[in-house]
Symmetry: C2
């Protein structure tokens, strides 16, 4: 059982996060000031910065949760699976279990709307991409360990992860630009784009 203090803290954090997401998705990220968020929860601006390192961190908090889940999923894949297949399965798992990951903080619908805000707000997209390369490094190490390789000696783990996550990026982007914002849509796109990695590398597209 948590202490009252801890419960209060958690409630404040979640209130701040919810208000922030609500404001970001309705009036836009840049248009929302930290003062506004703090005021909505009736705390001082200073308090906001005690819970989040910056406005960005609040905006990316949900994504961060799903990413953590993805990393765990990769770790949990059976070791006999080929590396790329493990990644593919982990991502698809992620899209299926996203509901239970996010719903404790916000409805999935808010999550999906926030994804599009991130994609369409330059500074957020930049932060998101940067975070992604950090994750890539983590995943590369996981893969290397799985396969009993040295990440620094063998380029394959990093290359494979880079290839994989770049395709995920394209997928995200196409999803956010499309008209179907459902989870089914993103799952379908994921498979479709991953299947194109092979063909995209083949010599001449015109003869295919």
């Amino acid at each position: 059982m948590e202490t009252l203090r801890e419960r209060k803290k958690q409630r404040t954090r979640e209130a701040l996060l919810r208000s922030a997401l609500e404001l970001f998705t309705t009036q836009g990220y840049e248009q929302t000031t930290v003062d506004e968020i703090a005021e909505a929860v009736d705390v001082s601006q200073r308090t906001f910065f005690r819970y989040f390192a910056g406005k960005e961190e609040a905006a990316l908090a949900l994504t961060e949760m799903t990413v953590a889940r993805f990393v765990e999923a990769v770790r949990a894949r059976p070791p006999h699976e080929a590396p790329m297949e493990a990644l593919r399965q982990a991502v698809l798992e992620g899209w299926y279990s996203i509901n239970e990951v996010v719903e404790s903080v916000a409805p999935i619908e808010l999550y999906l709307r926030m994804c599009r805000v991130i994609e369409s707000t330059p500074v957020l997209l930049a932060a998101h991409l940067r975070r992604s390369v950090e994750i890539e490094e983590t995943i590369a190490q996981v893969l290397a360990e799985r396969e009993g390789l040295d990440v620094d000696a063998d380029p394959r783990p990093r290359v494979a992860v880079a290839v994989f996550s770049s395709v995920m990026r394209v997928t995200e982007r196409q999803w956010s630009l499309g008209e179907d914002f459902s989870l089914e849509a993103i799952r379908a796109l994921t498979s479709r784009y991953l299947d194109q990695v092979g063909p995209a590398l083949l010599g001449n597209w015109r003869t295919a």
Copy 2:
């Protein structure tokens, strides 16, 4: 022949850029204030912002020049080349001609040092990555046109470009973390990592 005004403007811009790069690479990006840069050139802070949209833009200016060159190189590749091969050749061309691109503004050595500052400064790395995905979109369209495809109907152009540029990212990073900061080193890494794309996708690394 340019007018005096234009020459003066250009000189101011270059002076600002040079001072900025010099300060960034010596004392770090975050530690350098815009006031400092402006003062070094003896102009007002306001003037700095008339030449650069922000501190970031100054920091990424050199990179931007080389990127523009790369895009041109891709456009100029002979149409019979396979897509991935065209990209590979364009990048290698870029590394060979980088000297003449950059030297009008700063010595290559400064460029290389700045690359590492970008790689090691979170906010700069983020901006750099964001810019990269913009370029990816451009390149994807170039490729699609070359091959007579519709970018939105066929996933291959975007997937191929994403794969390619993610490998370039890994290369950059490894180069900036390594000990050999020469151009030869980055050329060698480029080829080495690109050659690993195929093997990295193959099923089982343990048997290879």
